[in-house]
């Protein structure tokens, strides 16, 4: 009798496993891993990717790693445990992300990286990032023009562990350094952070004197927002501040005549395309795209800022 009960139970168990698998097969899961949504930029990544996933018939799960590599590693574990069909990831570190991506690959789960590169190829199926260098060049050209090709300026850079911080800074300097009358008097990191940018800029103004700073070029928009606040407080109405990202906050600042320009990263488009390519990979086992894909940025100034919304330009 006991044996029969055991057999029935075992059969039920096996059947239930099949049905779970069958359900999972009905709607495969795409796991979307991003930095904290406190920066609206990353919320856009998650929103655009999840909307496209739903449209293409997938379930999705959004996890925030808050730029913490341990949290990111746990997020990959979750994706592996849930037998995700694909992972879309805006990663927490160019080196620290290699291992989790390899772990997912070993478990048969393809990873599509968006927004930030990692320092390896052949592990992720795609690395789709903004052409940060091209975007930074665009912003720097406008910055130089607004500065009248001469004067003292300050640069605030992003988080050092993030490749984009270095790429953007190089993009800025490859343009600006060609003008011998442009003088960088301070270069500091504010780690992408608005509050840190505000306080750093405040001390720089104290140290250098408001009248000696003609412009500030920033590695992202949140830092630009901190900088413009500090500058306006110090009465620097004509200061030339430029950012990078294309956020709605900076759009509004540009329209108010405060910040002068930003480089729009087509991040909504990138996040959607990552899901499109993931879908293609899930269905065909391959995509016809190169692993590393650079998406060009667009310069946003007072001329086109009104058309910008949630990291996309209206036609």
């Amino acid at each position: 009798m006991k044996k029969i009960v055991a057999l029935v139970l075992a059969t039920l168990l096996v059947l239930s496993m099949f049905s779970v698998a069958a359900m999972a097969e009905d709607k495969p899961l795409i796991v979307i891993i991003t930095p904290s949504h406190s920066n609206p930029y990353f919320k856009t990544v998650a929103d655009a990717a999840s909307a496209k996933a739903t449209e293409l018939g997938y379930d999705f799960l959004v996890i925030q790693h808050d730029d913490d590599v341990t949290k990111q590693s746990e997020a990959f574990d979750t994706a592996i445990a849930r037998k995700a069909a694909a992972i879309i990831c805006d990663n927490a570190g160019a080196d620290a992300t290699i291992e989790p991506v390899q772990r997912a690959k070993a478990a048969g789960i393809p990873t599509f990286l968006v927004d930030r590169e990692i320092n390896s190829t052949g592990d992720a199926v795609a690395q789709m990032v903004s052409n940060n260098y091209q975007g930074a060049s665009l912003v720097a050209e406008y910055f130089v023009e607004q500065m009248g090709e001469a004067g003292n300026y300050v640069e605030l850079t992003g988080k050092e562990s993030d490749t984009n911080a270095g790429v953007r800074s190089k993009g800025f300097h490859d343009v600006i350094d060609q003008y011998t009358d442009m003088k960088m008097i301070e270069q500091q990191t504010a780690n992408w952070d608005q509050t840190e940018a505000y306080s750093k800029m405040e001390s720089i103004i104290q140290a250098q004197g408001a009248e000696n700073i003609k412009g500030v070029i920033c590695g992202n928009d949140t830092m630009a927002m901190g900088v413009i606040e500090a500058c306006l407080k110090a009465g620097m109405k004509d200061v030339v501040v430029c950012g990078f990202d294309g956020s709605n906050d900076v759009r509004d600042s540009i329209l108010r005549g405060e910040i002068k320009a930003t480089g729009l990263q087509p991040i909504a488009y990138i996040a959607e395309q990552a899901v499109v390519q993931a879908d293609e990979y899930i269905k065909n086992g391959k995509t016809d795209k190169e692993e590393k894909q650079l998406m060009d940025c667009v310069l946003i100034t007072k001329d086109n800022a009104a058309k910008l919304d949630n990291f996309a330009l209206a036609d």
């Binding site: 050209e141 790429v167 490859d174 060609q178 087509p266 190169e290 650079l294």
Partner: protein, 233 residues
């Protein structure tokens, strides 16, 4: 005699020591290397410790691969202007390159031209030659970049125009971007520096070069030259 024997013993000892050293040490011969030089953005020749990957690539491939590819792929500018003004995407699909939908189309072009005018002669960073394409009608048809600062809309024309250079073949965006800088420095030193812009006014020449376009308005028809052969010069 005694003295001689002592000498022999001494030399034998030295020989044995040398042999011992030779047997136990690995000797690496270091050839005398000529210092590597590179021409910087200001046109000065400077000695560098080591060329970057991009600079090395440019040094190795400019004459043997980059320029020959451009000459081989070059579309005649008269037909080109007509094509891109009609339908840029169709022209791009026919003989251009782009990385993806967000990038500009890049092409290899050639033209027989006469210099009608110099644009921005007082701004050496942004100087352009205004060109009349043969057969000449004294109307401006396109421009040739003849400055020092390559703006974003033209800077990748060569790298993306040749069609065989891809980001995947380089370590990252920075290295790939450096390739553009290396090519453009080469244009500055090998092409643009050869003639003063002011000396070219009214001259006729044949050029080979590359162009990047997102839309084909006259102002955007700016070619980056890789070879310029001045008639009678």
């Amino acid at each position: 005699m005694k003295n001689n024997r002592a000498k022999i013993l001494k030399w034998a000892g030295v020989a044995a020591l040398v042999a011992l050293i030779a047997l136990t040490c690995r000797v690496t011969l270091i050839p005398d290397e000529a210092p590597t030089t590179v021409v910087n953005a200001e046109g000065q020749t400077v000695t560098v410790e080591k060329l970057s990957v991009a600079e090395q690539y440019c040094a190795d491939n400019w004459d043997s691969k980059i320029v020959p590819t451009i000459k081989e792929r070059a579309v005649d500018m008269v037909a080109f202007v007509k094509d891109v003004e009609t339908d840029l995407t169709a022209a791009g699909l026919k003989y251009g390159n782009r990385a993806n939908e967000t990038s500009a189309w890049s092409f290899c072009v050639k033209g027989d031209v006469k210099v009608l005018d110099i644009e921005n002669p007082e701004k050496p960073n942004k100087t352009l030659l205004v060109l009349d394409l043969a057969p000449y009608d004294s109307q401006p048809d396109c421009k040739l970049f003849y400055g020092r600062v390559f703006s974003s809309n033209i800077k990748n024309a060569i790298r993306d125009g040749v069609g065989f250079l891809h980001l995947d073949d380089f370590a990252n965006q920075v290295e790939f971007a450096d390739l553009t800088n290396a090519f453009n420095n080469k244009v500055k030193t090998d092409v643009i520096a050869k003639h003063e812009a002011s000396d070219l006014k009214g001259k006729e020449f044949t050029y080979y070069g590359c162009i990047s376009l997102t839309d084909a308005t006259y102002d955007n028809l700016v070619v980056v030259p890789v070879e310029l052969t001045v008639a009678g010069g």
